[in-house]
Subunit: 381 residues, 2 copies
């Protein structure tokens, strides 16, 4: 084993994905923890994985995107109370990128929502116990719903050759999938859902395994189909997702932030008629504006290492905000990232200083997001 | 740095405790993740840390026990809806070990509850977003409460010399603390709460730091006071907590389990008059009995490594249950642990087989818990 798991894991508290053995066999070098589950984040250096994603195709075990499944006669009505998006506009077979909001408008989570039936939803989660959130709401809502964590474990297939891999696995039917739509199907009898989604801005698909006992089989089947296209298992590419302007819940947005602060206002349907948690608060924030904003920034100088903590941002020598994510983009040959700043400092071309522990201060300035021409990235549906 | 943090951490999603720098300086070798925060679990071998705990005194960074703070005019009434214990019997200045229950009686979490005022509570959490659970309930409860995660970070001081260390820090006032009571005080101006609690069955205290900016200072102050008593920073001792019959949420009990299954029925006040989440379900489970039980087990043979997954338990060659925790006890010279079993198999002296991946089958039998004479351990209050 290349990595001493005992340094991350003690006892059986942390869960293992159905692909865990496969990720070990294929040389995972590091795991983090996400939704109480081990998450392989490195098979190679960050930059090597990034270039492979840009040039070929990569396979990620994202089983940690645990699902909350909502069924029952009131599933639509209940799920529609969780988010500012109008779910009446989400067809069966369609997915939506949504925020789940708290009473004060804070972002509880930013899942991909899948509508599998009129009254059948999955929320594919970022790192947070939305299962508890939804169960607590349901306990007091007086609605007929069942809320569970089903046996569902996604992988991502991302990169320019993703289409070739997915076509060879599922045939032409999957090629017709529009962005953020999905298909329920089988692969060698293994039940899966195939979605045209991903966390890169590259062409990508996710395959949601619906039978945890067949993880190893599915993994090897994908690797086999990908071999002609040089598929490699990697961690998620934080470089590429930052280039694409994608945010990471827990770093770039938290329960303390709202959509207007982090630039996700497009996830609010202002005309949504029915009530949802946070509706009044969001309307008020919209009226009053926000005192801070998440801005895109470039940080001057040599390549930085991906920030492990939120670095302090200064203006005129005074602490003013925080870098939430920042990394060296090898193709832009720039350090890029996000900073949560007082609104006046978040204006384009604003000049700032970033304090990097152990490495001193760097100049930074506010720039437009995304960092990579949107023609080269796909907007989230 | 002895350990490549990049193998556990990517980006600033995971939080660091106020003692993080101190744990690095004092040689932490491994970190897990717990409540979205890095948790130092190893400074030395598991057995070396265990013996040090039994013979001297140890210091643990358990900042990951994040607090949910509940205040406001309805704080008592609201908090009393979260748990089957009658909180009217918890005085200001007193703590209680409680379960937070779901509508179906499942265990959401097993925090230590502290009552800091008539309407002021902390829940010191196991690994789960009870903040979301409580906020969602409050959003629908129509009660006047404020629910937040305050700037509070505990450490544990555990072992036979814990009293000496705490006396030298806080004087005799703290010596009068009864088990599961606490004191709000200051140490060199650092605001803290000192509780007589812990996760070992040894004599122990927890010091809850109330100002995250002073973590380093508090840590070194404790180390200094502990030097004459050979204090050492360690991870939590899973060997000692299993000997004491203490359960670990996420391994030995989960949302899928209830108190009657895991032997925590003493945390239900059957006569509790007011309503709480899960009350009806627990009454029904109590009437009907449970189909499975968490039993203490001894596993035959050579010392085992602490189980990283839930091992399969067989009866007569057929899979029947799961080992949730099991470890070698160096002083008992036995492998001890817990198994979730069908009720008939959970009877004392029941004979079983345990399948240990990569090492074959072992005989096991059901024994009494706790594994160490209760005179040598302290019952939870």
């Amino acid at each position: 084993m290349p990595f001493d798991m005992n340094l991350v894991q003690r006892g059986a508290r942390l869960r293992r994905s159905p692909f865990f053995a496969a990720t070990q066999r294929h040389g995972a070098k590091g795991y983090t923890v996400y939704n109480h589950m081990l998450f392989p984040i490195a098979f190679d250096e960050l930059e090597a994985e990034y270039w492979h994603l840009l040039q070929h195709v990569t396979l990620w075990d994202v089983s940690v995107e645990r699902q909350v499944e909502i069924t029952g006669p009131d599933a639509f009505a209940f799920t529609n109370t969780l988010t500012p998006r109008e779910l009446a506009r989400c067809a069966v077979g369609q997915a939506k990128y949504v925020v789940v909001t708290a009473e004060d408008g804070g972002i509880v989570n930013d899942p991909v929502l899948l509508r599998l039936g009129e009254n059948h939803f999955w929320l594919a989660l970022a790192d947070g116990d939305v299962l508890l959130w939804a169960k607590a709401l349901a306990a007091r809502a007086g609605m007929k719903v069942n809320i569970t964590e089903p046996d569902v474990s996604p992988v991502q297939i991302q990169g320019p050759k993703a289409k070739d891999v997915v076509r060879s696995l599922f045939g032409d039917a999957v090629m017709k999938l529009r962005y953020y739509w999905f298909l329920e199907t089988k692969l060698d009898g293994i039940p899966v859902v195939v979605t045209r989604t991903g966390w890169t801005g590259e062409v990508g698909y996710e395959i949601y395994l619906r039978d945890g006992s067949r993880g190893d089989e599915l993994w090897e089947r994908i690797m086999e189909a990908g071999r002609p296209h040089r598929i490699r298992p990697t961690g998620p590419s934080d470089i590429r997702r930052i280039e694409a302007g994608i945010l990471n819940w827990g770093a770039d947005m938290t329960l303390e932030d709202n959509v207007y602060e982090v630039g996700l206002e497009r996830l609010v349907d202002e005309g949504k008629a029915s009530d949802y948690i946070g509706k009044a608060a969001l309307a008020e924030i919209r009226r009053n504006g926000t005192a801070r904003r998440l801005a895109g920034v470039e940080i001057a100088g040599d390549p930085i290492a991906f920030n492990p903590v939120k670095w302090t941002v200064k203006s005129g020598g005074t602490p003013a905000g925080r870098i939430t994510s920042a990394v060296w983009s090898p193709r832009l040959k720039k350090n890029i990232g996000y900073a949560m700043l007082p609104a006046p400092l978040a204006a384009l071309h604003s000049e700032l200083d970033v304090e990097i522990p152990g490495s001193g201060e760097r100049r930074a300035r506010v720039v437009e997001k995304p960092f990579v021409d949107p023609d080269k990235s796909i907007p989230r549906a």
